[in-house]
Amino acid sequence: MNCMEFQRELSADPRRLTTAALGHAETCSDCARRMAGQINLDAQWEAELQASPPVGMEDRILLATRMGRQKRQRYYALVATLVAGMAVVFGVTLSQPDKGSPDLVAIAVEHVLNEPEHLQETQVVNSRMLNDLLARVGAQTRGTLPATYANACKLPNGEGGHIVLSTQHGRVTLMLIPHGKTDAMLRRMMGNLIVEVHAARTGSYSLVAPNESALTDAKTLLARQLRWT
């Protein structure tokens, strides 16, 4: 191999040089220097062209995949319902599946993952704002709630409330979902998050916690400080 051939190979892929090229570099100091320079340059470019992804991107992707699958499942459920409806016409009774409640968990988690910044910030939350939000699900505060963020938010099934509570074991998101009703408590692990959805006077509310202790803290807090009207 001559120097020209070596340079051609080096500039095409310095990390995968052939044995012949490496042999040439051992005998040619100029080419050995070029090789070291190119490898250093590549390493420098690689280091300098970093771009860290947005926080929670992987979780959002996994959730979007799951939601997409649920849409397909809902489509099949719709087809099944139509078939069932036709069957009813012909005198066969089929029970309707509970289609609404499982989505409440996903709604809460998706909202939390889409707005991760609210878990970090600390706002001064006034009790009037808090009570306005809580009133949507038929609750009022008895005392103070250690909220670090509170705001109204748009949810797929209507407007709701987004509150972040500070507990001893981490921050917990309380999602108020007035337009989503559940008959039973729902609980699911989603990635590193624990999600529980509870029935409220109007609709439901969910707690999204980073660990079991934080969830227990939040539930204790709500039991003590909330009054259902």
């Binding site: 500039s11 992804p53 947005p54």
Partner: protein, 174 residues
């Protein structure tokens, strides 16, 4: 742990792939289009397409190359025709978040990279950031291996020429 489905092997492998490769896909997408939001959309669309076309992943060992191929095609399909030439418009705060500290050599490497026409930039990024060989790049780019060898070489030469004109880079490189 597969949490988004019924816990099948497919679910589990999919989650592993997303967690392993989404950051690398994002980085490649970012240097293709230079927009964080568009990049996240591209990565998300890539993963969703991968999920839908799971049966076309014949060999899990080739998963990374497969995902990069989907992303490259998705970028071409959605953005290549309509993306206007961008300038480096992000504010310093965004860059601080992304790369830690903005340094002059970094700015110059970025400027040199963005000046490369996309047909040269994409193969170079795939090699330098993705660690792919020219043969793999040829598959991802839907082109011949010889063409990719030529483009990567040309891209390196163009980058070197541009950076050689920058005094700060020359100082750093010595």
């Amino acid at each position: 742990m597969a949490w988004f489905g019924i816990g099948s092997e497919k679910d589990s492998l999919y989650e592993t792939l997303v967690r392993a490769y989404a950051p690398e896909l994002f980085r490649f997408a970012y240097w293709l289009c230079r927009d964080r939001h568009v990049s996240e959309e591209l990565v998300q669309e890539t993963c969703l397409r991968a999920w839908k076309n799971w049966q076309s992943l014949n060999d899990p060992q080739l998963a990374k190359q497969w995902l990069f191929t989907i992303l490259r095609r998705e970028h071409a399909r959605l953005y290549e025709q309509k993306t206007p030439e961008r300038v480096w418009a992000e504010d310093d705060a965004q860059w601080e978040t992304m790369v830690g500290q903005v340094t002059m050599p970094l700015l110059e490497v970025r400027e040199a990279l963005v000046k490369l026409p996309e047909r040269y930039r994409a193969p170079l990024l795939l090699q330098v950031l993705g660690g792919f060989s020219c043969r793999e790049i040829a598959v991802i780019m839907d082109a011949s291996e010889d063409a990719m060898l030529a483009r990567v070489s040309r891209a390196r030469r163009m980058m070197r020429e541009m950076l050689d004109e920058q005094p700060n880079i020359r100082r750093v490189m010595k």
